[in-house]
Symmetry: C3
Amino acid sequence: MVKRGGLYGDILHEVVEHNGTLYLAGVVAENGKLDMEGQAREVFQQIDRLLAANGSSREHVLTALIFITDMGQKPAMNRAWKAWLAPAHLPTRATIGVADLDGYLIEVVVTAAVR
Amino acid sequence: MVKRGGLYGDILHEVVEHNGTLYLAGVVAENGKLDMEGQAREVFQQIDRLLAANGSSREHVLTALIFITDMGQKPAMNRAWKAWLAPAHLPTRATIGVADLDGYLIEVVVTAAVR
Amino acid sequence: MVKRGGLYGDILHEVVEHNGTLYLAGVVAENGKLDMEGQAREVFQQIDRLLAANGSSREHVLTALIFITDMGQKPAMNRAWKAWLAPAHLPTRATIGVADLDGYLIEVVVTAAVR
């Protein structure tokens, strides 16, 4: 069965669950004027909320696709990342430098397990 | 068990199924000369066909990665998207602006549930 | 249950398993000075090792996201790809031209089935 949550503007659901796996929408910062570390921190806080609201948590992230527009700011992103996730629960990850995130510095797509 | 369908040029299968989940190949328009809305419409029609041929449908899309080369054309893409999917069945989604799709304006990677 | 393997620098795990599915981290070449075909070959060899160490193999790849920085070198990537995978076991795939892979020509994100 497929469960969907958080309808956003007739465009997407924020979370879809299938077979014990949660597929999250791409998450950007609420405040796009923050610097990379600030945007990354906000992204991870939003992911925390989405996971908690759907029977999961940051300890259950399976994999993350991280899109950023300036690879030079990967260290700043990593500071927020390391503050967010303990080593024992780190997911797999890819960080891809892309051309345009509609003005944002970072967008993160997470897949997680239901607890 | 893993089921594969639609071998394409010794390069990829168009659909792979595992544990009730369908992984689709990246889909581009058949006619790369169409504008964004036209290309998006063709992409979604092809995804419809791939889903129908593999025991799924547009009501069972879990998540979509949408790569586009011009973020300014996201509204045109969204028109085709909204015409394709009813709110109740919207998947999660991320739209990423990338450098090069081999001449196409949009490529879409879908994961779906088997009915 | 979620199983994680190959902790890398307090940043990521190389492989995470959940419900019979393996999520691999983005893989780049060990030697970033190689040309595209050489980097792709090294990437696929590393994926082979990660799969073998986690109860899977190249015959069980479900889908691959291939990020490259120069679409003109896709044919060179495809030569290494075809040498790696037999037609019967080809996964689904998308090849996306992106702006920056931290100096590498190719990064590959694989999802696979446990045997």
